[in-house]
Amino acid sequence: MKIKSLVLGTAAAFSVASMAIADRGSDGHVNIIYWQAPSILNPYLSGGTKDVESSSMIIEPLARYNQDGELTPWLVNEIPTVANGGVSADLMSITWKLTPGIKWSDGSALTAHDVVFTGQYCMDPAGGCAQSNKLADVSNIEALDDLTVKVSFSVTKPFPYGPFVGAEQPIIQKAQFADCMGAKAPECTAENFGPIGTGPFVVTDFKANDVISMEANPHYRDASKPAFASVTFKGGGDAAAAARSVLETGEFDYAWNLQIDPTILSQMAEGGKGEVISSFGTAVERLMVNLSNPDPALGDKRSTLEGGPHPFLTDAAVRRALSVAIDRNLLAEVGYGAAGKATCNVVPGPAMYVSTANDECLVQDIAKANNILEAAGWKRGSDGVREKDGVRLSILYQTSTNAVRQDTQALVKQWWSEIGVETELKNISASVFFGGDQSSPDTYQKHFSDIEMYTNLFSGTDPEAYMGSWVCSEMPMPSNNWMGNNMPRYCNPAYDAMAAELATTAAIEDRARIVMAMNDMLMQEGAMIPLIHRGRVSAHSNKLGGVVQNTWDSELWNVADWYRN
């Protein structure tokens, strides 16, 4: 995969060189299909990936992550650091200097006031901004002059690149959105459907949840870009249909997020009309163990600390055996193909954070798993299911509805049956499972099951907030309305102490060391069982060049460099 992305990278670099002499709009029309249709082009009002990525063609942040996860200046000339004086020595503020001469698509100039406005827009509590966590701890944003903006924090920020970095935090135009603050934000339909941006394209027509028509931005900062004069950005259907339209019928040039059976995808790719590309970020498909008791007889105390410990999952031997019995490589091969690889870590990237201390689980060993259980005193009963002191190893295993997840469930169920563990499968509609409805028993926060499976990830490259998910205070429970990220109900003071240390450590090497130690503690104590490091998989037509797959930012981050082969 690395070689492929490297090759693609050079191809892109080459194209950049060759494009310099081409004219804007000389390559005609390009068709993009996202099978989840964009519903709005303002990522502050909708955090959905489809909305963030479609809007990234129009509005841009100050800096982006490139395909290797490195910060890349976008609307600025350089990334502020402590060394170049952009970040204050006490780590309490960061100062960005905009590149002079950048224009909005209406011809007016981009200024620091637009950046300040963007921050205020998202921080208005009445607006329900979906990205407000990126602006957490921001105490003040001010424009020092027309091109300089200073963001101050109320606490020390060892990693100050939250605000205005990445596709989720683009700069919007003050002149356009000035009347759309706070409670007024959702009413500005015209603005939300057609934001004025600095990006390579401008919206000409937006049909919500259907199709966006765009054309090249006449005021884009590079006079030779974009190569395409117009874009159709279609949404709808399903992943298989999107893949078919690029790889088989050739109606579209680029299709996003093709999570379908790898056999079908490779068969489609054999047609020779296009190419499947993938790359890896931080997403990990994992099993979340429930350390509290989900017995329905407990009523209100179900799956809470007060309900008491889980009857058998609190036994570390059981958790280890469950993990060792799984053939992760096979799961990756069957369900994900090029878009998945086995992992034993909850932090799978970037490379400097990845631990190798847990690689025991990479190899499936049913015999070893059986021995572990046997040694821990779990004996097989007459029906082959192990039990100890009247407690049977019987697991309710829930996840959201999705073809790949159901295949994974079936495989895992079979392996667990080989080590004497009985499994009941349950799948729940994704909108219920991931929704936070208080009255529903089926949300992933409530975790009214023994094991649940889903994917989690962190955006950008800094895992601090992500690692903070498993401290004691993050446990979902009735008193905090089941809001919290600590689904396993894991609680270890040593882990909490490391999380606190991470929050005050600035040196990148030290941060990596702490993150690795935290990851290892979670893995070795079996709070969760990671399965697959998931990549993004997309497809582009052979007639489309310049595509560089990027998992750290929007997939369409370099759409200005795309060209017709």
Binding site: A240, I260, D261, T263, I264, Q267, P296, L330, V334, S400, T401, A403, Q406, D407, Q409, A410, L411, K413, Q414, E424, L425, K426, N427, I428, S429, A430, V432, S439, S440, P441, D442
Partner: protein, 299 residues
């Protein structure tokens, strides 16, 4: 008097059977349907491969001696899945059909026959027609899944839930259709004649009205078997159906749709099973309708 009536009754049912036998399509339909039911009920005893057993090395295989209908993407045997899936699909189809026909006919006849009840019952029908199925199911699952799971176990519990959900949301067209016909039938001369002979309402409905609205009921019944099987598959696909280790024909068909080009036979078998069932049920329905109609029976 009573004796005379019973003997007359038995001979009438015999007549019905004799007439049914002369309907070639119905007899063939009956045979095919019996074979399907037999295979589905007893097949798993002869074909003992576990439908959920995964043999990953044998994935996506074509038909072979070991797997007469090939295997799926995880190496599960298609034939045993078809047998196991048939049990669920047939049960869902027939039970949901029975429920909706019972409900629909009852409400249709009552509201067509009794003018006073027509308004309220038809407005109730309108209400049910307007309810969106998916949110209704989400609510039903939220409220009842755990209770039913506790009472009947995970599989029977969800079965009851799904069958009642499909039945509860598909009786309305039948009710409307039956009512429309009842409105017309009850104005015919023979009803007036029966009424002047002093026939009671109950008898009027069972002896005179119902037999005359039988054909739309039969058509609705056969169509609703197919509709129930397909609705179930749509529900599984939305995550509201049976657990994933619980094969059904609809789910098999849905899962294999994307494999259409790779292994076409995988799509054909479940599709064929559903079509055959629906066709045979339809011919049985046709035969029954003819057999129950005294005017045709005489011919």
């Amino acid at each position: 008097m009573t004796e005379e009536l019973t003997t007359k009754r038995t001979s009438q049912w015999k007549d019905v059977w004799l007439q049914f036998k002369t309907h070639r399509g119905a007899v063939i339909g009956m045979i095919v349907f019996s074979i399907i039911c037999f295979l589905v009920a007893f097949g798993p005893w002869f074909w003992t491969l576990d439908p959920n057993y995964i043999d990953i090395r044998a994935k996506n295989q074509g038909p072979s001696f070991l797997h007469p209908m090939g295997t799926d993407q995880l190496g599960r045997d298609t034939f045993s899945n078809l047998l196991a899936g048939g049990r669920v699909s047939l049960l869902v189809g027939v039970t949901a059909m029975a429920l909706s026909v019972l409900f629909g006919t009852l409400i249709g006849v009552i509201s067509g026959f009794f003018k006073r009840l027509d308004g309220p019952l038809m407005r109730l029908t309108d209400l049910f027609l307007a309810l969106p199925l998916l949110p209704l199911l989400l609510v039903m699952i939220m409220l009842f899944r755990d209770t039913l799971r506790g009472l009947f176990g995970p599989e029977t519990g969800i079965f009851i839930l799904i069958v009642s959900a499909i039945g509860l949301t598909s009786w309305m067209p039948i009710a409307r259709i039956v009512r429309g016909d009842v409105l017309a039938v009850k104005e015919r001369e023979f009803v007036l004649a029966a009424r002047s002979l002093g026939t009671h309402n109950t008898q009027m409905i069972t002896r005179h009205i119902l037999p005359n609205v039988m054909s739309p009921i039969m058509v609705s019944a056969t169509l609703s078997v197919a509709a129930a099987i397909i609705t179930e598959s749509a529900l599984s696909f939305l995550g509201l159906g049976f657990p994933s280790d619980f094969p059904t024909w609809g789910r098999l068909l849905y899962d294999s749709t994307n494999f259409m080009k790779l292994s076409p036979e995988r799509v054909i078998y479940p599709g064929l099973a559903i079509s055959l069932t629906v066709l045979s049920v339809n011919y049985i329905g046709d035969g029954l309708r003819d057999a129950l109609d005294p005017r045709i029976r005489g011919r």
